[in-house]
């Protein structure tokens, strides 16, 4: 049996990769994928704890996260398309109209 810590370390690595990608990437689609990576890193820790404690609630959380992630993907992609149509770029540094 693989120890719990392995899962948690992998989960942490995945989450950190997501954060790092979110912070340094300029392409909005890549940023979006990084968010998915963070969510899945968290999902992994949920299922790992669920298996470890023999408790179902962790797995139920994962389903919720997946549902939310799917909805978010739909909304997020729609926003990306809308942004591309108006700005004709996917570089977030150039999408800065909110700036003072």
């Amino acid at each position: 049996m693989v120890p719990l810590s392995y899962y948690l370390i992998l989960s942490g690595i995945l989450f950190s990769c997501g954060v790092l990608g979110f912070l340094i990437k300029r392409n909005i689609i890549t940023i979006f994928m990084s968010i998915e990576l963070m969510l899945n890193g968290v999902n992994l820790s949920f299922v790992a704890f669920a298996a470890h404690w023999q408790h179902l609630s962790g797995q139920i959380f994962v389903f919720f996260v997946m549902v939310v992630a799917a909805a978010e993907a739909a909304v997020g992609l729609a926003i990306i398309i809308a942004v591309y149509r108006t700005r004709e770029t996917l570089n977030v540094d150039q999408v800065n109209l909110l700036k003072l």
Binding site: F22, I24, R26, V92, D93, L97, L98, L100
Partner: protein
């Protein structure tokens, strides 16, 4: 328990009239407005007459409870009404003279664009004055007291577009406020030491207390503070300065408020509180001294005035001084008697002056009148009666009341009597001077400097410099009624009527020792003195018109001092107003308000702006910097949770 007279209706009726005219008057025609105003003040008068008709069957003092007002622990104040002979007399004077002046005002104010507003204020005044007179406790009296002050302020500043009228209104209000402060502290003392403001309860508690012959005890303090209030409302030294300025108001207002009723509220209040004053001889002495000095002081100023209304104003101050002199020698009923006759003849004098001003097209300067006897005969004859009445010529009303006061003063202290007699001489002199200057000689209206014309009487401008003309019947009618009252008012046995109210205090002071012969002699003396005053006025202002100027030149600076009212206004301005204004400007305005309060607000706003300016760089519009802040925030939260976990 006697019958319920529904006394509350008496003050409420004029209030209804004030509300109707105040709210809807602009949409009514002048006829309806005047009908409403006269109806409601007339209804109050009718109710008073109804009460009067049942008066003899009442057990006095008659007391009516309307509603609870304040209940706080053991302390209780109700809306309640108190009716005794004194109240009855005041009710008759206020509603009777008030009704006449309402009728007169219809004619006087007819051309004024603010006709409904005037009558609304006038009715409002009646409401407050009747509340004051009918009150069953000091707090309710205080409401009326403040309310008449408000009505007076509104009516003095009736032509508020004129700067002097607006300032006069403010001056009256502020000076009255100083007096009200004393009244209020007197009320606090009563609450603290007697736990009640109800007249009957209070006087029952004061009654058995010892008379404070030495030092300043509780009752003396209350008495003196009440007198401060009375000084403000009734224009006594040192707070009389507002009344002459109050002549900026329309003339019927001067007649009703600043001669016949409101300014006598102080006399009424002192008489109503006679139980307190009877136990505080020191306070009474102060009342007598203030009254005597005011009577003399104001009379001397009255001699040198040229504005017809200013002469009457100083005369009012002087006559109020007589009333306080009477109160001060514990001759309350004589004071109230003079109050009543004064309401008749001074109301008449003011209304007559209004008629004169109306006739000559708004001019108030007596130097440009003269010879009006031929043009306005009714006004002339009624004014003649009033002048004789105020001068104290037998058998007109003023003779009886003034001589009663002088007689009672003579018994207490001859100095009061001597000063009062000299003031009576001055009164006869300046009133005859007014009479000669206005009605005899030749009409000098054409000599009036153009710029001095009008005095803001917007309604009278169209009359111009044309021939003086008699006022309509609606104005002369009240004049004639008041003239009748001024002629025969002295025969009303007021003092006998008031005996149950002031009874024991009066008899003790009166002393039955003095002989009737002495009294008659004194009466002849005072009539003689008045005659000398009239003769002197005749000599100076009719026979030898060049003399007054020579005398004025001869007296030099003294005459100037008197003509400038002893520079009292200037002295007050230098002593009180200027330090107050400058202190407020330099310390309170520039120092506290701008330096501390505004600065605190402004500086905190500036600080918030600087902090926000620093923080707004977080909102860069750059998505990745947002993400960085989110990540940093998340890191801080995690670090905190870990640290908490470690700490535990």
């Amino acid at each position: 328990m006697t019958e319920n007279l529904n006394l509350w209706l008496i003050p409420i009726l004029p209030l209804v009239g004030a509300a109707i005219n105040g709210l809807f008057g602009r949409r009514f025609s002048r006829q309806i407005v005047s009908a409403v105003a006269v109806f409601f003040s007339g209804a109050a008068f009718a109710l008073v007459l109804r009460v009067w008709s049942q008066f003899s069957s009442l057990t006095l003092p008659h007391y009516e409870f309307l509603a609870h007002w304040i209940r706080y622990g053991g302390f209780m104040v109700n809306f309640e009404f108190y009716l005794d002979q004194l109240t009855m007399l005041m009710l008759l004077v206020v509603t009777g003279v008030g009704l006449l002046i309402h009728i007169y005002s219809i004619g006087y104010m007819w051309d004024d664009p603010s006709f409904p507003r005037f009558f609304s204020y006038l009715n409002l005044f009646m409401f407050f004055m009747l509340t004051l007179v009918l009150a069953g406790n000091y707090l309710q009296m205080f409401i009326g007291w403040e309310g008449v002050g408000l009505a007076s302020y509104l009516l003095i500043g009736f032509w508020f577009t004129k700067d002097s009228a607006a300032s006069a209104g403010k001056k009256a209000f502020i000076v009255n406020r100083i007096g009200d402060f004393g009244f209020l502290i007197a009320l606090f003392l009563m609450i603290k030491h007697f736990g009640s403001l109800n007249f009957s309860e209070l006087f029952d508690k004061v009654g058995p207390m010892p008379v404070e012959t030495v030092g300043v005890g509780l009752l003396t303090s209350i008495g003196l503070l009440l007198m401060v209030g009375a000084c403000g409302k009734s224009a006594q030294i040192p707070l009389y300065v507002w009344l002459p300025d109050a002549m900026e108001g329309p003339t019927p207002v001067s007649a009703l408020i600043h001669a016949a009723t409101m300014v006598t509220a102080g006399v009424y209040m002192v008489s109503r509180s006679h139980v307190i004053f009877d136990h505080a001889p020191t306070a009474l002495t102060v009342v007598a001294i203030i009254g005597t000095l005011t009577a003399l002081f104001a009379a001397t100023i009255g001699i040198a005035q040229t504005d017809i209304k200013k002469v009457l104003a100083y005369s009012t101050v002087s006559q109020l001084g007589y009333m306080f002199m009477a109160c001060g020698v514990a001759a309350y009923s004589a004071g109230i008697f003079h109050l009543m006759t004064h309401a008749f003849f001074k109301g008449l004098l003011f209304l007559g002056a209004g008629s004169v001003i109306h006739a000559v097209g708004g001019n108030q300067d007596m130097r440009y009148m003269g010879g009006l006897r031929r043009y306005i005969p009714i006004t002339f004859w009624t004014m003649t009666i009033a002048t004789l009445a105020i001068a104290g010529i037998f058998p007109f009303a003023g003779f009886f009341s003034k001589d009663e006061i002088l007689w009672r003063a003579f018994q207490v202290n001859k100095v009061y009597w001597a000063i009062g007699l000299f003031s009576a001489f001055l009164t006869a002199f300046y009133m005859s001077r007014l009479w000669f200057m206005t009605f005899l000689g030749d009409f000098k209206g054409a000599e009036l400097p153009a710029g001095d014309h009008g005095h803001g009487h917007s309604g009278h401008d169209e009359h111009g410099h044309s021939e003086p003309h008699e006022s309509p019947l609606v104005m002369t009618g009240p004049l004639m009624i008041l003239a009748l009252l001024s002629a025969v008012g002295g025969f009303i046995p007021v003092e006998h009527f008031l005996e149950p109210v002031f009874g024991h205090g009066e008899l003790a002071a009166a002393g039955e020792t003095a002989s009737a012969g002495l009294e008659t002699t004194l009466k002849f003396v005072s009539v003689g003195v008045a005659g000398v005053g009239i003769f002197l006025a005749w000599l100076l202002y009719y026979k030898r018109r060049d003399l007054p100027q020579k005398i004025a030149d001869g007296l030099g600076s003294f005459y100037q001092t008197v003509a400038h009212k002893y520079y009292i206004d200037e002295i007050y301005a230098a002593l009180f107003v200027k330090p107050l204004v400058e202190g407020s400007t330099d310390i309170l305005w520039h120092g506290v308000d701008q330096g501390v309060i505004d600065a605190a607000v402004n500086d905190s706003a500036v600080g918030a702006r600087h902090a926000s300016d620093a923080a707004r760089h977080m909102q860069s519009g750059n998505l990745r910097s947002y993400a960085g802040w989110v990540a940093a925030g998340g890191a801080v939260v995690i670090a905190y949770m870990i640290w908490m976990g470690v700490a535990r």
